[in-house]
């Protein structure tokens, strides 16, 4: 569930990123042991209400659950067959609420704020002489390149289908891995060309006027 930042000025956008992440952790821990379907139903409704406060664009974000639908169905069926259907319902509601809550944070938090919020987690790395900026930047890169990797995979699958008439296959794993490696080389080169993960220091240039644009 990696979705795109939704620009806005809602109360959730204004809340500090660190507080949001802490609340997310606390709420997730609180939801985990809940077994009562009524309470979980209430939690689910509350999460939907949070989305509603972001406006119609916010509610649309809930559609991002769609790719998870088959997984949720499997979980529901497994619980139903092995235990009771009520257990299945509880498990699905719990999972959906947690995923939606986590997604709510990514939808309302800018990447640079998120980076700043998670950076302290990496401070202990300083002991080993590694800049905490690096892993934080790596997190950003993962999030940024998920859509790119998806499109790499879909072009491979398309080329495969064009010649075999079949949908994707496990055979695509090897070329996908190679292309992903090549992509990572290009990205690393582009990052180096802009001063690398560590940055260039403290000089801030004057801004100059451009004449043409978008």
């Amino acid at each position: 569930m990696i979705s795109v930042y939704l620009p806005g000025t809602s109360w959730l956008h204004r809340m500090p990123a660190r507080l949001k992440l802490l609340l997310l952790a606390a709420l997730s821990m609180a939801i985990l042991p809940v077994q009562d379907p009524l309470v979980l139903g209430g939690v689910f409704a509350a999460v939907l209400a949070f989305y509603a406060t972001l406006g119609p664009q916010g509610l649309k974000q809930v559609r991002l659950l769609r790719p998870l639908a088959s997984l949720l169905l499997i979980i529901f069926l497994l619980h139903g067959i092995g235990g009771s259907w009520m257990e299945g319902l509880v498990a699905v509601m719990r999972l959906v609420s947690m995923v939606l809550l986590a997604n709510l944070v990514s939808v309302t938090t800018r990447m640079d704020d998120m980076l700043e919020a998670v950076m302290p987690l990496f401070y202990p790395l300083k002991i080993f002489g590694v800049s905490p900026k690096k892993p934080a930047l790596a997190v950003t890169l993962v999030i940024r390149f998920v859509p790119v990797l998806l499109s790499v995979y879909s072009s491979l699958a398309e080329a495969y289908r064009a010649r075999t008439g079949k949908r994707g296959s496990w055979r695509l794993v090897a070329p996908f891995a190679l292309q992903a490696l090549r992509l990572s080389e290009n990205v690393a080169e582009a990052l180096t060309a802009r001063g690398g993960a560590a940055g260039l220091g403290s000089h801030i240039p004057r801004t100059r006027r451009g004449d043409a644009g978008c």
Partner: protein
């Protein structure tokens, strides 16, 4: 009171960038071997023109040559001086002076949204988060791109993506802009818009392209072949000779796989 000057300082003094220097890049007997292949052989060039184009077949050494300009490659033999400083000695500082734009915009952008991508260039130069954010917003306004500021990079058109990649490099105020086939993935309209944009820039430009029309208005074109300079001069001389050579070689090809 300085009664003793360490040798190191003298060397730093020698390696200082001078952006006002007319000959912004000087290659002296440059050789480069990558993966066991000699990609550049004995290149000696002095670059001073505002707009310089590089042409040549794939594998002729174009990309390797321009990568020497901002330290992505260092010369194996000889030396490269950028604004008077030898790249081997000042490699880490080169991105401040030499911006580099690649062919595929999807492989360049690091942040998910446009404004963050531009702000990254400013944080690279040491700006704090708020200053970088404000600076990015102002910069996008200056370039009439404020409408794209909040957009996810992945949702932009190819032309918009490349434009943002160029701006993300320009925000660092380099004196020289190097572009390695920046128009290759663009349609005709986007390519023309990017060319218009490049014409307005104060920066010196070194541009690689297979589309020779983009060299309209350029001061100089360098034609590379097998890691060497085959011809070097004004576009009016070099480009017709290059095209004639392409036609001759295509006509003289002796078998199907000669391409």
């Amino acid at each position: 009171m300085a009664f003793w000057t360490p040798h190191r300082n003298k060397r730093d003094e020698e390696q200082r960038f001078d952006p006002a220097l007319a000959d912004f890049a000087v290659f002296e007997g440059v050789g480069l071997t990558l993966g066991g292949r000699e990609v550049l052989k004995g290149i000696s060039l002095v670059l001073s023109e505002r707009r310089i184009g590089i042409v040549g077949l794939n594998g002729s050494g174009k990309s390797s040559l321009v990568r020497l300009l901002n330290g992505l490659h260092l010369p194996g033999l000889g030396s490269v001086r950028i604004f008077g400083a030898e790249t081997k000695a000042v490699r880490a500082q080169l991105p401040r002076h030499v911006g580099f734009v690649f062919q595929n915009p999807d492989h360049q952008a690091i942040f998910p949204t446009v404004e963050e991508e531009i702000a990254f260039g400013l944080t690279q130069l040491g700006a704090d988060k708020q200053a970088a954010r404000d600076g990015a917003s102002d910069f996008l306004k200056q370039h009439y791109c404020e409408a794209l500021a909040k957009k996810p990079f992945a949702e932009l058109s190819e032309g918009q993506k490349q434009l943002i990649c160029i701006l993300a490099v320009l925000v660092m105020q380099p004196e020289l802009l190097v572009l390695d086939e920046p128009m290759a993935s663009l349609d005709g309209l986007a390519s023309r818009r990017i060319q218009q944009k490049l014409r307005t820039l104060d920066q010196k430009i070194v541009l690689i392209s297979h589309d020779l029309a983009v060299f309209d208005g350029f001061d100089r074109v360098i034609w590379l072949e097998d890691g060497q300079v085959r011809m070097d001069g004004v576009p009016g001389d070099v480009l017709p000779a290059y095209v004639a050579d392409l036609d001759r070689r295509a006509g003289a090809a002796t078998d199907e796989v000669d391409l």
